[in-house]
């Protein structure tokens, strides 16, 4: 990969992030309602107190330039202010608490579904019209059409409420995570099972559909005929020739998809009370916790940009044609 290609992508990412930071600032200043009023829906407040609160939160200064300048400055320092809802806690720590669970859920979900979805999609596309294709693609299309929470709700009804195999919600058993070693992992795994299944199922549907069509497209390429003519085993043709080429569009799609995945994960988290960014987003939204919302938006948007950057780089590594 050439330095120019890399530099170009990097520059693009930086410009996008800058735009996101600006948009983030503007969006939240446009939001209705005044936070101090919501928080101070309190019988005995005097006007002075309200003013003092505004001053404390910097809401009394003019939007531009004061609030903007201080916003950009503190954002660069990683200081996103203090949560309105979780009082006394910096936004970064509130968010940091929730990043882990979401990363665990979405990361594992992505991992599983990338493997499973791509495997199913590749096989279905490769053996188009076969049993795997018919069943797999049927299931995938249905899953693809299901909002995450529609996948999650029946899972709860069946496996948690009905059969009692898994807990209904949360990330750890009530009482927290200070169990001895293997127990805490098992406990986590049992809690993770259903939300993970939800996120994975939703993604498997998407990825297998995408991979199937990518493989079908690739399958009709001449170099596949060449590989067949070489008398290579079918599996080898798929693995060594069809698959790497079909993966090229997938890399980009998976990265672009990340934004949607996070959106979907929000609903999955709500259904399962998973203490991640999704539930935090909703809590923050309900209590108009602007700083936290701002932080989440920034985090998610920047992650997506970085994921896209990573995808570009991976693409460059996978496809020799971009290297020049």
């Amino acid at each position: 990969m050439s330095a120019r290609y890399l530099g170009q992508r990097l520059l693009q990412a930086i410009v996008t992030i800058a735009a996101i930071v600006l948009l983030n600032f503007l969006l939240f200043r446009l939001m209705p309602g005044s936070p101090e009023r919501i928080l101070l829906r309190n019988p005995n407040l005097s006007q002075q107190v309200v003013e003092a609160t505004r001053a404390r939160w910097g809401l009394d200064k003019p939007l531009i330039p004061d609030q903007l300048v201080s916003y950009i400055g503190s954002t660069l320092e990683g200081d996103l202010g203090y949560s309105f809802k979780f009082r006394g806690q910096p936004v970064t720590s509130v968010i940091a608490d929730r990043v882990g669970p979401t990363l665990l859920l979405v990361g594992l979900g992505e991992l599983i579904s990338v493997f499973v979805g791509i495997a199913i999609g590749a096989y279905a596309g490769w053996r188009r019209g076969g049993v795997v294709d018919r069943v797999g693609s049927g299931v995938s299309l249905v899953l693809y059409s299901m909002p995450y929470f529609v996948i999650g709700m029946p899972l709860i009804v069946i496996f948690a409420a009905g059969l009692g195999w898994f807990p209904t919600s949360g990330m750890t058993s009530v009482g927290g995570g200070d169990r001895p070693f293997p127990d805490n992992i098992i406990d986590l795994a049992r809690h993770l099972a259903l939300p993970l299944a939800t996120v994975s199922l939703g993604l498997i549907g998407q990825y297998s559909i995408l991979m199937r069509s990518a493989i079908i497209e690739t399958r009709s390429e001449d170099y596949i005929t060449t590989a067949r003519a070489k008398g290579l085993r079918d599996g080898r043709v798929l693995r060594a020739h069809a698959f790497p080429n079909a993966m090229l569009p997938m890399v980009t799609l998976i990265a672009i998809n990340l934004g949607y995945v996070i959106g979907g994960a929000i609903t999955a988290e709500i259904v399962f009370s998973w203490p991640g960014l999704g539930t935090l987003t909703v809590t923050a939204l309900q209590s108009r916790d602007y700083p936290v919302l701002q932080g989440i938006f920034l985090l998610v948007a920047v992650s997506v940009v970085l994921a896209n950057l990573a995808a570009d780089i991976i693409y460059g590594l996978l496809d020799p044609r971009v290297r020049r």
Partner: protein, 325 residues
């Protein structure tokens, strides 16, 4: 390929605008018939169409099938009544008939989907055409903006935009019988999904621009607006149609999700809103699956139907159909 040849449809990119007006219409009608025949050959597309027509009919006249919308005051059953002869799909926590609400939900969900699609298309098509046709700086700028929107986590953005927009329009405003809360959802979906459409339209416009008939028109001195309207737009119409159907599917999905999270409007219950109510009232835990299943199944069926139709149309209409979300 052979089918295309047999049907006599013009080989790709023939100038539709070459013939006189009447001729053009005749040509259109013939194309349409040929297209309908090809579409009818697609089992998946037809299945989608049947499902869609079913829900479309429900959406057009819900009163005809289940009477007026059951509200808290008009509830005809008792809380969480199980399905019975009187209430085929049971009742929710307020004793409202689920069948009634699901059928009415069809109207609301699909109206939102439709309006969101229209907004998406108007933005996407106009900006795509302009970018593709003007090229240069305008194109560059518009596409950078589109890239930006493509990268943005649209869902989180939608969550944030919704309350901002509600402030702008006011929660008690109504347009065409759609309440402000829902209008906001519509606009939010539009704002966050136009970019993909714009990209597709732009790339097709770019290639059309280089075609002979556009050149010819330009040489004759036809203005850019007219060229876009008369020469390019008709030729990207097929793309727009295929894209519209897929956009509709994702609009319904987004609407359902936003409503589920609580951004919907309880006075105009879409399927997502009904599911939100089910979640709030703990229907799943109470074993009241009948509150969840009908709206959930409806959502899935409609999205599935649109996806199937969209894929079929895309295969048939998009000259370079390729992998996409």
């Amino acid at each position: 390929m052979s089918a295309a040849r047999a049907s006599g449809a013009p080989v790709s990119g023939a100038p539709v605008s070459g013939a006189g007006k009447a001729g053009r219409w005749r040509l259109r009608a013939a194309q349409l018939r040929a297209f309908a025949a090809r579409y009818a050959g697609r089992a998946d597309g037809m299945l989608g169409l049947v499902v869609l027509v079913f829900f479309g009919i429900l959406a057009l006249a819900p009163e005809l099938f289940v009477g007026p919308l059951e509200t808290a005051t008009r509830a005809s059953a008792h809380a969480f009544d199980a399905p019975s002869a009187q209430h085929l799909l049971g009742a929710d926590d307020l004793g409202r008939d689920i069948l009634n609400r699901t059928v009415h939900g069809a109207r609301i969900s699909m109206t939102i989907g439709l309006m969101a699609t229209v907004i998406t298309l108007v933005f996407g098509v106009v900006l795509g055409l302009v970018a593709g046709y003007s090229g240069g700086l305008v194109d560059n700028l518009l596409m950078r903006i589109a890239d930006f929107f493509l990268v943005l986590p649209t869902f989180v953005l939608a969550l944030i935009l919704a309350p901002v927009l509600i402030e702008v329009v006011g929660a008690d405003a109504e347009v065409m019988g759609i309440r402000a809360t829902l209008l906001v959802i519509i606009v939010v979906i539009g704002i966050t999904s136009w970019a993909a459409t714009a990209r597709i339209i732009r790339s097709q416009t770019l290639s059309l621009k280089e075609r002979m008939f556009v050149d010819r028109a330009r040489v004759v001195g036809v203005g850019p607006g007219r060229i876009i309207l008369r020469h390019i737009l008709p030729n990207v119409m097929n793309l727009i149609v295929a894209n519209a159907v897929l956009t509709f599917a994702s609009a319904v999905l987004t609407e359902t999700t936003l409503s589920f999270i609580g951004l919907g409007d309880p006075f105009q219950p879409s399927w997502g809103q009904i599911l939100n109510g089910a979640q709030d009232s703990g229907a799943a835990g109470l074993g009241a699956w009948w509150v969840i299943a009908p709206p959930a199944v409806s959502v899935v069926l409609v999205i599935l139907a649109f996806t199937l139709m969209g894929n079929a149309l895309d295969d048939l209409l998009n000259p370079k159909s390729r992998v996409r979300r």
